[in-house]
């Protein structure tokens, strides 16, 4: 299905990553956002608040992130495509409702424009310190999808992708920007609406009375009922059976939670996106994502000038993690260099997937700026020896 032209600002623009993210949401069909101001993410909803009244939709500024992260879920059950936007401290407050969205299979999008932490940290400066929080921050077992744009153009493209994946798998999907991508201004091309694919909500065609709210289809995802159509659906954060009714039996828990996890794990190959360059024949592969991948490109170029065979692997989907791909690379290269704006998060996943088959060299950074290209270059040169 194609995008509704009302939300598509077709043309060539000069936008920052936050504004491009907002345009992506509008193009994807988002007509509802509940937010709470926090630097460096607020520009996304500021633009949405300015744009959406002329398109037909709602922005509501809530009293805190706890409210923002559940108001959008009410809107989703009311029929809207909806999202919220935040940064570290607000993201910490939203964890409870990530769990709710997972448990109730509410398709929705969270945008996290990452800044330095912990706590109030560096409000206006970048980090990639929420990569494990997005995966594990809410309690219990679950799987989510997280995407990492490295430019304003990708901020637009991947926000649309996020909405589409959310609808397809009925899972919260996260757009993991960082302060630099959020605030950098570059060319953003927005195509005509008929060239933008959007995933429709998977509304059931089964009539009320015969419909089981949480009976999964072959892809392990159940279709959704419409609220206000007599389905009398019950939606609960409690462990529930296929009717949606609370059921505290371990067997019900096992069936439900395994399905919630498996609908992402078993569809991971269809979900995962990454960018690869000159991996075949490489001695060293640099793994990075988001803004760090832009710095790493410079380091890779520097090493190639020195004659080192360096490949590039960029995570576009951080979660589900492309472990098969990393394992495959590990069996062919001497070493992987992992660079990220934290003191060791995605590198743990890389190490797990590499499983000792190659050297893993980590280039960390506590945040506040991007890496110096020389630091990643030096790591490449050391492991290439």
């Amino acid at each position: 299905m194609h995008a509704d032209p009302a939300g598509v600002l077709t043309g060539t623009h000069f936008l920052d990553g936050d504004h491009a993210c907002c345009e992506g949401a509008l193009a994807a069909g988002a007509r509802f956002s509940s937010g709470y101001p926090i630097t460096p993410s607020t520009e996304v909803v500021e633009r949405f608040a300015a744009r959406v009244p002329t398109i037909g939709g709602t922005f509501i500024q809530m009293e805190d992130e706890l409210a923002a992260s559940i108001t959008l879920q009410g809107a989703v059950w009311g029929g809207a495509k909806a999202f919220t936007v935040t940064s570290g401290p607000g993201f910490s407050l939203m964890m409870e409702h990530i769990g709710l969205a997972v448990m109730t299979e509410t398709p929705c999008v969270f945008v996290d424009v990452q800044r330095g932490g912990p706590s109030t940290g560096l409000p206006t400066l970048p980090a990639q310190g929420d990569m494990m929080q997005v995966r594990w921050g809410s309690h219990g077992d679950y799987e989510i999808i997280a995407l990492c744009p490295n430019s304003p153009q990708e901020s637009f493209d991947l926000t649309i992708k996020a909405f589409n994946l959310a609808e397809k798998y009925r899972v919260p999907v996260f757009v993991m920007l960082d302060e630099v991508v959020g605030h950098m201004t570059e060319k953003v091309v927005i195509p005509p609406a008929d060239q933008i694919e959007v995933e429709p909500r998977r509304y059931t065609t089964i009539p009320p009375g015969e419909f089981l709210a949480y009976q999964a289809k072959d892809d392990l995802v159940p279709d959704m009922p419409r609220t206000g159509e007599g389905y009398n659906v019950h939606v609960t954060g409690l462990t529930h059976d296929e009717r949606g009714y609370p059921d505290m039996k371990p067997a019900t828990q096992d069936k439900l939670v395994r399905r919630l996890v498996d609908k992402i794990r078993k569809n991971a190959d269809k979900i995962i996106l990454n960018e690869e360059d000159q991996i075949d024949g490489a001695d060293v592969v640099v793994v990075s994502y988001g803004i760090t991948s832009r710095v790493a490109q410079r380091s890779i170029d520097m090493a190639r000038e020195k004659g080192v065979k360096v490949g590039k692997f960029r995570l576009i989907t951080a979660w589900p993690f492309p472990e098969k791909k990393i394992a495959e690379i590990a069996s062919k290269v001497k070493a992987l260099v992992v660079a990220e704006l934290n003191l060791g998060q995605m590198v743990r996943e890389v190490e797990r997937a590499v499983a000792g088959k190659a050297v893993v060299r980590f280039v960390g950074h506590a945040g506040g700026s991007v890496h110096r290209p020389e630091d990643i270059f030096q790591a490449i040169m050391e492991v290439a020896r």
Binding site: I60, A67, G74, G78, K81, T227
Partner: protein, 291 residues
């Protein structure tokens, strides 16, 4: 001549998910009584039940959504109101009722409640107030009056409690009433009135918690509590909410305290946007997710 006995069935049964019975509430608890009033109010309201949605938080009263045969949402602790806000704004044709307890709505959810009242979002809130955290075993709530034994105040409570109608009126509610589980007819009538109001409306229903409150405080059983309600309740419609505080054994002022008109959130938004944007403004009708 033989008499054929026909069981007409309970008139509220169609509103209940009878396949989920028995419910979890203790004998003598007032939550079920309030649900009975709610179902009767719905019967007589002529509302299209397809368009009635119920949202609960967590706790004993939080289980109400799960027993009502309506579109029903059992959300997180304290957050029923913001969920309901999103549901209502995205789908304005729905009549959205929040049904939850005093701890859920006024402690962990207190901030959401006052802000929803301030915005005058068109949602109806039924708060069953049993003066305690019941689901978790009888801990002190922000509604627990002084000198009450709870599991977390084993020597008696001393922190002051909220006067719910006073708080909700100050925050902006257009309709505020209080009844007890003894006043089933008045409660039903109040609920019917509430369905007709546009804007943030609030009914407090005092309920016994015979298991954890009355028993621990040697206040007798559920029947004794009904007698107590009957004895100490005084109907004072229009009473200033500043005068309706509750105490452990003092007078309980019940009645309709506030019934006023104020533009609701959608009207306020509409007027502002039209004034500023003119015909560029496109009203957010049901955000029907065609895509």
């Amino acid at each position: 001549m033989t008499t054929v006995s026909v069981n007409p069935g309970n008139p509220v049964e169609p509103f209940l998910r009878t396949e989920r019975m028995p419910h979890i509430w203790c004998p003598g608890c007032g939550i079920g009584t309030s649900v009975n009033s709610f179902a009767r109010a719905l019967t007589e309201s002529n509302l299209d039940l397809k368009n009635v949605a119920i949202v609960s938080g967590i706790g004993c009263t939080g289980r109400v959504a799960g027993y009502m045969n309506l579109d029903s949402f059992h959300t997180t602790h304290g957050r029923a109101i913001p969920f309901a806000t999103g549901l209502k704004l995205a789908n304005p044709k729905l009549n959205v009722v929040v049904y939850s307890g005093d701890g859920d709505l006024f402690a962990i959810g207190g901030n959401h409640l006052i802000h929803a009242a301030r915005r005058n979002v068109d949602i109806k809130v039924v708060c069953v107030n049993n003066l305690i955290y019941a689901m978790t075993g009888g801990q002190t709530a922000p509604t627990t009056p002084g000198a009450v034994i709870t599991s977390t105040n084993p020597y008696g409570t001393y922190d002051p409690s909220f006067n719910l109608p006073y708080l909700v009126e100050a925050a902006g509610a257009v309709y505020v009433a209080r009844w007890t589980a003894f006043h089933v007819r008045q409660l039903t009538r109040s609920m019917q009135e509430m369905f007709k109001k546009k804007g943030f409306s609030f009914i407090e229903v005092l309920s016994p918690c015979p298991t954890l409150y009355q028993r621990r405080n040697k206040m007798g059983d559920a029947l004794d509590t009904m007698k107590f309600y009957k004895e100490v309740s005084k109907i004072r419609n229009g009473c200033p909410t500043s005068e309706v505080s509750l105490s452990k054994s003092g007078e309980i002022v019940v009645g309709k305290f506030v019934d006023r008109e104020r533009s609701d959130y959608r009207d306020l938004r509409h007027d502002r946007m039209v004034e500023t944007l003119g015909d560029q403004y496109i009203e957010a009708e049901a955000c029907e997710c065609s895509i």
